[in-house]
C-alpha cells in the first residue's frame, strides 16, 4: 500500500468506515472458505499411509501455527511503526492482534498435543519446536497483560510494543527448531521451493488456511473497532469532566 494510503487510514473515522465495510465480507468469505476446506479435509482427502485418519488434524493445526507466527510478526511490525512513525492506529493494532494471535497459538499447541498422543505416544515433550511455540503463546499473553494492567496506558503500550519487538527473536527459533535440534516434530513439508504434500491434501489445507486468515483479519478489525469506539467514549468522558471541573 502506498504511504499516502496509509496516512489516509491514520484518520480513525476513515479507518472505521473502511473496517465497517470490510468486516462482513471477511467474515462471510472466511467462513465459506474454512467450511469448504474442512469439508474436503475431513471427507474428500485420503488418510495418510502412516498416520491414518489422524492426519486430518493437519487442516486445523498447520493454519493455526502459520497464523500464530504471522500474527506475531504483524504485531511486532505494528509496534515498530508505532515507535518510528507514530501512526495513530499502530498501537491499536498491537492491542487488537494480541488476543487473536494468542488464540491461534493456543489452538496450535492444543491440536498439536492431541495429534502427538496417537502419533508420538505422548501429549507433550519439551523439545525445541514445542517449547518455542509455548514461548510464543506466553509472549502474546505478556503483551495482553502489560497493555491491560499497566496504570499508565501510554507507558503500558510502549512496554508491550517493546516486548512484541524483542519477542521476534523467537520466530526464527520456531521455524528452524526442527533443523537445529533433534525433535519428534517433523520438518516443514511446504517450502518456497515446493511442497511435499499431495495435491489432494494440499488443496484443503490451503483452503482452510485462507479461511482462517480472513477470519483472523475480521477479528482484528472487530477488535480495532472496539478499541476506537472505547477511546471515543473515554475522550467524551474527559471533555465532560473538564467542562464540569
Amino acid at each position: 500500500m502506498a504511504s499516502t494510503d496509509l496516512h489516509a487510514l491514520a484518520n480513525p473515522f476513515r479507518f472505521q468506515r473502511l473496517a465497517t465495510l470490510l468486516t462482513p465480507w471477511l467474515l462471510g468469505l472466511g467462513l465459506a472458505l474454512l467450511g469448504l476446506g474442512l469439508y474436503l479435509g475431513l471427507f474428500a482427502s485420503p488418510p495418510d499411509y502412516l498416520q491414518g485418519e489422524t492426519v486430518r488434524i493437519l487442516y486445523v493445526h498447520v493454519p493455526a501455527a502459520w497464523l500464530a507466527l504471522g500474527g506475531y510478526l504483524g504485531m511486532a511490525l505494528a509496534a515498530l511503526s508505532a515507535r518510528i512513525w507514530r501512526h495513530p492506529l499502530a498501537d491499536l493494532s498491537v492491542q487488537a492482534i494480541a488476543p487473536v494471535g494468542a488464540f491461534f497459538a493456543a489452538t496450535c499447541l492444543l491440536t498439536g498435543s492431541i495429534w502427538g498422543r496417537p502419533t508420538w505416544g505422548t501429549w507433550w515433550v519439551w523439545d525445541g519446536r514445542l517449547t518455542s511455540m509455548l514461548v510464543l503463546f506466553l509472549l502474546y499473553l505478556g503483551v495482553i497483560a502489560i497493555t491491560a494492567l499497566h496504570e499508565d496506558r501510554a507507558r503500558g503500550l510502549k512496554m508491550a510494543g517493546l516486548l512484541a519487538i524483542v519477542g521476534t527473536v523467537n520466530l526464527p527459533i520456531i521455524k528452524f527448531s526442527v533443523e537445529w535440534w533433534n525433535t519428534l516434530h517433523q520438518p516443514a513439508s511446504i517450502r518456497l521451493s515446493g511442497s511435499a504434500i499431495h495435491p489432494d491434501m494440499l488443496t484443503p489445507l490451503l483452503l482452510s488456511a485462507s479461511g482462517f486468515l480472513l477470519l483472523f483479519a475480521a477479528m482484528v478489525l472487530m477488535r480495532m473497532r472496539t478499541l476506537i469506539a472505547g477511546q471515543r467514549v473515554e475522550a467524551r468522558a474527559r471533555r465532560l469532566a473538564a467542562r464540569h471541573a
Binding site: 467474515l27 474442512l38 475431513l42 491414518g52 485418519e53 489422524t54 486430518r56 488434524i57 486445523v60 493445526h61 493455526a64 488476543p99 487473536v100 488464540f103 493456543a106 489452538t107 492444543l110 491440536t111 492431541i114 495429534w115 498422543r117 496417537p118 477470519l215 475480521a218 477479528m219 472487530m222 477488535r223 473497532r225 472496539t226 478499541l227 469506539a229 472505547g230 471515543r232 467514549v233 467524551r236 468522558a237
Partner: protein, 40 residues
C-alpha cells in the same frame, strides 16, 4: 484409542474456540460502538 476420537477432539477445540472468539469480538464491538454512538 480410536483415531477418529483424536480428530474429533482437535476439531472441537479449534471450532469451539473460534466460535467463542468470534462471538466475543462481535459482542464487544457491538457494545462499544453502541456506547460510542450514545455519547456522540
Amino acid at each position: 484409542m480410536n483415531q477418529i476420537a483424536f480428530v474429533a477432539a482437535a476439531y472441537t477445540v479449534t471450532l469451539g474456540g473460534l466460535a467463542a472468539m468470534l462471538g466475543w469480538c462481535l459482542l464487544a464491538m457491538r457494545r462499544a460502538e453502541a456506547a460510542s454512538g450514545e455519547v456522540r
